[in-house]
């Protein structure tokens, strides 16, 4: 085993981690990634690269992760089971590990009917929990899903997502327990807007002792406008944006929308930090990566360890 990656290092040292999301471009331009990376440099412990998020075709997460790694980041390779079967997933884990990409985030992925290719065939050979278990067995037992031995084991740090706001609410911590039992060691949650509900979920998480087995990073998304708040509330699967936040965004004049969005974001960070068992935040500033430094500084989380 080589030394742990930066994200793992920060989390195991007990520090409050900050990760951010970087959405790759709909094109082959590496500069688009470098530009976004430039905004994040020095402000985050790791950068997630989304995997064709909302089922819209983008530059591959693996390629963008490598570009970010070359810039000195510890990238988090997001991998959905929507587009790849177990053969392709395992092959990509080996490839990622060979490139020095250490963090793998295992997700189901949004259904392709939401994206730009609704006529595409989906895969869903395995689900996200089976994927976590498969990645863990590759690393720990040195074997593929088929049982075949791996010559050099992938040295990876395995994470998953969880949505505390999806239904049925009562099993959301139990489902996380399954992911952790399968091998997930860091968890990045869906964007937290409804802090009360998130706190109730964390209470269930603590009752199961899950916060001691894996690091939970609360998802944070700054809103740019009341339109974005409404869109996320009504059209993005699994989002819970309370009406009072939508109204608050709408109550300020247009030129102050972004400022208000950041203010809400900083208040949310302060509130989730106070919740026992929250090990960090994961900032998903959708097509607004340049705001991340202001958020990290505003939250008093700069400089990074």
């Amino acid at each position: 085993m080589t030394a742990p990656g930066n994200l793992e290092r920060v989390l195991t040292s007990g520090g409050f981690a900050v990760t951010a999301e970087c959405g790759p471009p709909r094109g082959a331009d590496p500069e688009a990634i470098r530009k976004k990376g430039g905004y994040l440099k020095g402000f985050v412990d790791a950068v997630n690269v989304t995997d064709n998020q909302t089922a819209v075709v983008r530059m591959s997460s693996m390629a963008a992760c490598l570009i970010l790694k070359e810039m000195g980041f510890d990238p988090v390779l997001q991998m959905t089971v929507r587009d790849r079967n177990r053969i392709a997933l395992q092959s990509d884990i080996l490839g990622a590990a060979a490139l020095g990409i250490r963090n793998i985030l295992c997700l189901s992925g949004d259904h392709q009917s939401f994206g730009d290719h609704p006529g595409a065939k989906n895969v869903y050979d395995i689900d996200s929990i089976q994927f976590v278990d498969m990645a863990r067995a590759m690393r720990d037992e040195g074997r593929l899903s088929s049982g075949a031995e791996i010559t050099v084991k992938p040295d990876i740090f395995i994470g998953c997502v969880e949505n505390p706001f999806a239904d049925p609410f009562e099993i959301r911590a139990l489902r996380l327990a399954k992911k952790i039992a399968a091998g997930a060691r860091f968890i990045q949650t869906q964007c937290v807007f409804n802090v009360e509900k998130f706190a109730r979920w964390m209470e269930m998480v603590r009752d199961l002792g899950l916060h001691e087995k894996a690091s939970i990073l609360a998802g944070i998304t700054p809103m740019k406008s009341p339109g974005m708040a409404r869109y996320m509330k009504n059209s993005v699967p699994g989002m819970d944006v309370p009406d009072d936040l939508v109204e608050r965004m709408a109550s300020v004049p247009k030129e102050r929308h972004r400022e208000e969005g950041v203010a809400i974001c900083l208040e949310t960070i302060e509130r989730v930090r106070a919740i026992e068992g929250v090990a960090g935040i994961h900032i998903m500033a959708i097509e607004w990566e340049e705001i991340v430094p202001d958020i990290v500084k505003g939250a008093g989380l700069h400089p990074r360890p």
Partner: protein
Amino acid sequence: MIVADRKPFDEIMGMIESCGKILLVGCNECVTVCAAGGAKEVALLASQIRMKRKAEGRSVEVDEKTLERQCDPEYVNPLAEMLEGYDAVLSLACGCGVQVVAETCQGLRVLPGLNTRFMGVTEEHGVWAERCQGCGDCVLDRTCGICPVTRCAKSIMNGPCGGSRNGECELRDGTPCAWQLIIDRLKASGELSRYGEIAKPRDWSTSRDGGPRKRTREDMRI
């Protein structure tokens, strides 16, 4: 049963554009129950075709025949004796029926009049819904009688995903979340503790991923 929809009328008219005499063949099984390709629908489509051609000033001869079961050569073979003079056979059966008819009526154009949709059940009068994908390795004993392979949009075996909301699938098209239904049943029977078991990856080779499937009962062969 197999549930099907009739193809759009214009598509059917396009398929028979060059035909002067067609044989319209219905099926008395599933597609009769789901009101897509039984004797009644055969008669209705035949009339529509005649009226449309008449309006266009082009003659057409449409004969009607509804078989007991189009997916069984025993009932389809007699068709071979009555094909003289036809330009095409338009089958109002599922895809299985169309293919048996095509095998029987070789040399003649055999056209599908339906789009075969799914294996399903009658939910209420006039409403059918998918329940089985024929995966070849039934898990209903472990999922409280609700099939996640079919009824979960992502066929998740350890659900529900993060898109489940108010009992509805993330597709938000009125589809219930299969895993919400499973959890409701686990709760009702006091078995929620079973939820903690992690379902292993499936072996899809029994499904169509293993290639076209065939079943042979040697003891029944003549």
